[in-house]
Amino acid sequence: MSIDLSQFHAVFFEESFEGLELMEASLLELDVDNPDSEQINSIFRAAHSIKGGSGTFGFVQVTEFTHILETLLDKIRDGDQALDADGIELFLQSVDCLRELLEALKSKQELDTQRADELAGVFQAVLDGGTYADSAKVVKMDTSVGEPVVAETIETNDDSALDEREPGASRQQIGFKIYFKPELDMLKGGNDPVRMLRELATLGEIKTTADATELPPLQVLVPDNCYLSWTIELLTTCAIDDVEEVFEWVEDECELSITPILEDSIAAVSSQSQDQPNDSKVKNSATSGQRLVMPSGPLPSLDDLQLPSPPESTDQSPPPVTVTDQAKTPVKAKSTKVEASSIRVGIDKVDSLINLVGELVITQSMLGQMGSAGDGITDEHIVNLREGLVQLEQNTRELQDSVMRIRMLPISFTFNRLPRMVRDISIQLGKQVQLELSGENTELDKTVMEKISDPMVHLIRNALDHGIEMPAQRRASGKPEMGTIVLNAFHQGGNIVIEMTDDGGGIDTERLLAKARTNGLVGESDQLTQEQKLELLFSPGLSTVEKVSDLSGRGVGMDVVRRNIQELNGSVEVSTEMGVGSTFRIRLPLTLAILDGQLVTVADQTYIFPLVSISESLQIDGNKVSNVAGGSDVYSLREEYIPILHLDRLFGLRQEIRTLQGSLLVVVESEGQKIGVVVDELLAQQQVVIKSLEDNYTRVLGVSGATILGDGTVAMIVDAVGLSSLAGNDIAAAKKMTDAAA
């Protein structure tokens, strides 16, 4: 009879993480001096949904923690409790803490509740009348000394009883007698009495009696109706508000009466329980409370069991539909197994997809009719057929666009994580920084988004650490003390461009150069252009900050950033002005599934170069080719020697040596190094769909994937980085020559 609740876990976690994000965002936006009640409400709602959900699934630790959080929020909402900057800090910490708890639950790991207990203690102290800052201090002290105050709070938490201790009052009142009679159709609203009973059980000892007298005979029983009513005796020290809150969602769908039980009536309660020997075992556990309910109930309620549906606080107008997609990339190192991730897609996107499929079916049936329309083929047939094919082509293209759009998510998913980070780091560094976001609704592919978030975080950290100056320094140079980082995203061509601008001190290219010289990256006498100097920023092992902090400065950052972006077929460039600030511009393809390619032929085989990696194509002038030791050829291209790679030899296609004079050279860029690749012929440029070779084969060096051409044959996509490692010697030789010439 039991339902496997674990099937709903994924939804719960997803919603909870969304809720946490919402809480975090609202907390950050919240103006402490003049809090917007709507924002506090949305924080409260998010906490409440998490509590409800975790209660349903029996994640007691989460329920307990959110409960105390919620109580405090409720007081703030009602204006009974003030909120200050320290309070927000505490709430943010609790968001982190909840996230950790949920992550642990999700990956079925051991829960570490120490932090939750500590925070709960702090909140309890605040509820007891302390200020946020003091409470935080007191608890920190207490946990080290182990003073009874905190011990007691934590203990009450373990009992799941929220202690709103009102001295004096608690002596008389020991609990509540609750009569709860749901309306017949309450279950249809998704509300489950069992869940409420379970929640009541977390408040204290409960004793539940179900009244099944209204239960009709089985023949006329409507399984969706709730015929039961309950009398519950709850022994608790909670305030009546907490009890009422359990029924908050169903207030107007039931008959409810809550009457306090006073101390002298305790005898009556206990004697009553002894009257019923069956109940003698029923003490204080939540499960036994339900067990009483179970046998007498018709139990349709469980079939209807679903997550409590809190009011949607997001402002998305079309109701989102969840589309599951098998994650192709292994998700984060943290989780050990590959999980199926899902995305939320607006219903409008799905609708348009369905429309397009409808059109496709119509076109198909039209073409099908033509195909079976008798044996004589007339000119008219051919005209119709052509029309049909044009239509089919259009349908296909639109369908492709639509399907791609499903994987597209607004970049705000990544951006939203950043304000919190900027806030935390700027506090840590003692700087004042504001983050301005624009273009958050720019959409890009989910897989691209997942991979771009780390490089972006890194760039922002760098800007905070190196870019923005200390307030005093900013004042001295006539700038506002508050530094600004602007993040802007927009579409340009088939790319998405993410710009990050800071108004900090700019990048000191001379220091970069000096550092590169001492590291031996640049020769003592080399003269570099401004651009080349900035390029140094992306070379491995270089950092201009003297002091290594835990944020940045180890010099392993920017080269990794660039490599990550290049792996996505994107590029990153930087411009800077001393004293004014710097701008990083990341350019990325909208999707990883489709690529703009240049088709070339080598030894009768077609290969594809990603268009972004090609810097130019030229015809070889024999006079500019030099041969260096070891048989490597280099080409002199505008004062730079670039290695010439022979794709036919590298790929083992043919061994004959061809004359270079007049052949075509495709110059591609790989990790900042230009390489020339000799090809036989340049063909068209076209969009190709990237297919994996690794699914059924292994990784091939020099090839990033394959695609299927219009004629159905398979063509390999050339990977410039892989090529250069295939031809390591040639490249080293060319570099030596460039160095020697300069």
Binding site: L650, N696, Y697, V700, I708, T713, V714
Partner: protein, 176 residues
């Protein structure tokens, strides 16, 4: 690829299907079905449950720097599927491509992954049913490459058939 052969392949597949149905009916005997094919007049067999389809040879794009026995990749209705020439892998002297040359597409689904790969053989031959007791262990003297892919030997209509282990074939580049 000639239409005659297409017809052949089709009827063979149909035959296979009907045999498979037949086998399902009396599955309790735990019988195995094998598809046999010829390479240099020797008859080899693979478990028919691992055979996805049989297609003509053609349109193979080479993979850069792959071992000689890897012919390349083909487009199998949108999936990129590698093709290995079993005749080269088994070091058989003669490996020409004529109108009988076929690619047997094998599919292995294990807990880890599903993998599809084509094997090039001289021609397909027959389908036969075998009970496990009829299977003999491979000869222990042979030290050639093909040895590790041989699951066993059996005799059909007086002729020896070499049974291959599809799973090991499909993972061969992992243990090169």
């Amino acid at each position: 690829m000639g239409t005659a052969k297409q017809e052949d392949t089709k009827s063979l597949l149909k035959h296979t299907a009907s045999l498979a149905d037949h086998a399902n009916e009396q599955n309790f005997e735990n019988q195995l079905q094998y598809l046999t094919f010829l390479m240099q007049d020797e008859e080899y067999g693979v478990d028919i449950l691992n055979v996805q389809e049989i297609r003509g040879w053609g349109n193979v794009s080479p993979i850069p720097n792959a071992p000689a026995y890897v012919s390349g990749v083909i487009n199998l209705r949108g999936a990129i599927v590698p093709v290995i020439d079993l005749r080269i892998l088994f070091e058989l002297s003669d490996s020409n491509y004529d109108e009988n040359t076929v690619v047997i597409v094998l599919k292995v689904t294990t807990e880890r992954v599903n993998r599809i790969m084509g094997i090039v053989v001289d021609s397909v031959s027959d389908v036969f049913t075998l009970s496990p007791t009829d299977k003999q262990p491979p000869p222990s003297v042979n030290q050639s490459v093909s040895r590790e892919f041989i699951e066993g030997l059996t005799e059909v209509k007086g002729k020896m058939v070499i049974l291959l282990d599809s799973e090991r074939l499909l993972y061969l580049e992992n243990n090169l």
